[in-house]
Symmetry: C2
Subunit: 349 residues, 2 copies
DNA sequence: CTGAAAGCGCTTACAG
DNA sequence: CTGAAAGCGCTTACAG
């Protein structure tokens, strides 16, 4: 015998009220034509009984689970909390639940994570891909959050423009020698950000990029970045492509006795949780995650409503770019003498 | 007419093979008594067709959704990525999906988040409560992850013992004046950690606790902690109750020109993502999130299997305490002269 | 070893 | 305006 649920169901409400289940269903959903009085009575009774509709029954009947999948390359990503929170909020507001799947890095695991979600018959998926992974259309609509440069992308912060904000800010402060610090040379996001910074530079300025992933191949994970040495070479601004790298640079400079922002400036990206509370607090660029999540979710729900067939649709008609916002804090200031003359006369550029 | 799914179902496999759906079901699940040959044939054909079982159908029939809910007080918590990752992994291994719900702080929102999960008929819930929120038994088994001091707790890291590890480490290095830094005086976790630190102190030692939440009531969010001043008063060790506070103290000390670990030591808790890569890298205490998640999930799945009625069961028989592990990095070292004599002769204690 | 049948809870054409 | 009925896909006692 099938397992019945603990709570009341439509049938119980119906018999207890002497009406049919169809009428109860119609009254609760407000779809069918039921008299106002009866609607009132049924809803009241349902509330009294603490009726909770069965998603399973509804899902089986309608072919929709009311659940969205969220696939992340690596939940341990420090930006993840904000992403998950924003998406859960947007999905929840749209009446959807959010099922998470961590693809733990490699592409095979990502495919497996997607399959797990398909098995749980999610109505749609939001994927934040690792690097330039191509998403093969799954058995449901898919929204991709990465960068405008990623093929098949749905919505993203305008990382390029974010980079320009940083460049404008630093050039405005008089900096001419900028060290860009990234940690993943394959990342579309980081490349867009770096490109934005470079595009905002004026003639006579000089920028160099330090890729930590390459550095660590030789020096090992967590090896020094050598930013103090770079400061002595004449770099006065350190523009990290994420707050995590900014923090790394900032503490390394401080440990070397270099003052921020008096001697050099440091900036980051993402406004991660610690950024406002470190000393000096970090100048950074924030993306409006709530807006991004909202766009991704509504793109998905639109596609779900439209696609009767529930085929794999990559929701990619318009790649929305959401503006990033510069947040100036204490870690960036006017370009002073730098630390070049602390040691020697050589100059970059 | 009910909406049919895109993919093949049991019935299609059955007719295409000229057998009954019951036999197909039995063959795939391995439950019924089906001949070896037929099992082989059916499974092969199912794989060929790319058959994916419908969770909705199964859920409706069995009364189980195969989904666990994860309720967090605040997804923005920096520890959340590790928690979510560990739970997703453990749940996934046990054949369950994970539905997230952010309760965004207040108690009402937490109740609402729990209700959302109940509506989606999760089979069980893992709740990480905010402060000492009491969890009222929901419509399904519940596992609570907080501290052993929390009533109804299921599993937790042994925060008290973690505090002792820190105390032993610091006293072993010769520190006698310890400033404990927390950010939430109501938190069971932080109080256990602080209690552990104090319990590990030897006679003649002195500890004081700085609660940032109280400090910020007057000074505003992100106000200075005044740790440099504390260092001048004679404190040589700063034991933060979370790596976030440790980072805050560390950068503030560095900015004031105090060297770590030469002048003073700094320690944290949780081994958050930045801890290994800041300079100096942070001595901290790590909890085995994978083990905690595993215990929580298996407690839940056991309860689910047992409780035929799916009533609200608080899974609390045994409060497991998972040991925390000290990770010594560069931010802690032998107690030197401190910075007391940098300025004046007054002494704490 | 295999199959016919019931039923989980819901929604939606359709008949009255 | 209201109800009877079908059927989404599955599993599980039961009969053969």
């Amino acid at each position: 015998m099938p397992q019945s649920r603990p709570g009341p169901n439509l049938s119980r409400i119906a018999t207890s009220l002497g009406v049919s289940v169809a009428t109860v269903s119609n009254a609760l959903s407000g779809k069918g034509r039921v008299s106002g009085q009866l609607i009132e009575k049924i809803r009241e009774h349902a509330a009294e009984l603490g009726y909770v509709p069965s998603q399973a029954g509804r899902a089986l009947r309608t072919g929709r689970s009311g659940v969205l999948g969220l696939v992340l390359p690596d939940i341990a990503n420090p930006l993840f909390p904000k992403i998950a929170q924003a998406i859960e909020f947007a999905a929840s507001a749209a009446g959807y639940g959010v099922l998470i799947a961590d693809s733990r890095g490699d592409a095979a695991a990502q495919t497996e994570a997607i399959n797990r979600l398909v098995e749980r018959s999610v109505d749609g998926m939001i994927i934040i891909p690792r690097r330039a992974t191509r998403i093969s259309a799954a058995a449901c609509p898919v929204a991709v959050i990465d960068t405008a440069s990623t093929p098949g992308n749905t919505v993203a912060a305008d990382h390029w423009q974010g980079g320009r904000e940083i460049a404008d800010h630093l050039t405005g402060l008089g900096h001419r020698h900028i060290l860009i610090i990234g940690n993943n040379q394959e990342s579309n996001v980081q490349n867009d950000r770096a490109g934005g910074i470079r595009s905002g530079m004026r003639p006579g300025m000089h920028a160099e990029t330090l890729w930590i992933d390459r550095l660590e191949q030789d020096g090992g994970i967590g090896c020094p970045l050598g930013v103090a040495e770079k400061a002595r070479q004449g770099f006065t601004a350190f523009a990290a492509l994420s707050d995590l790298q900014a923090l790394r640079a900032l503490t390394e400079l401080q440990q070397a006795g270099i003052n921020i922002p008096t001697d050099v400036s440091v900036t980051g990206f993402d406004d991660l949780i610690w950024s406002p509370v470190v000393t000096p607090s970090l100048t950074t660029v924030r993306m409006d995650m709530n807006r991004i999540a909202e766009i991704a979710v509504s793109a998905l729900t639109d596609a779900i409503k439209t696609s009767v067939t529930r085929e794999g649709v990559l929701v990619t008609a318009t790649t929305d770019r959401v503006a990033m916002q510069l947040i100036v804090r204490q870690s960036s200031g006017p370009c002073g003498p730098g630390t070049k003359n602390l040691r020697d006369g050589e100059h970059v550029g």
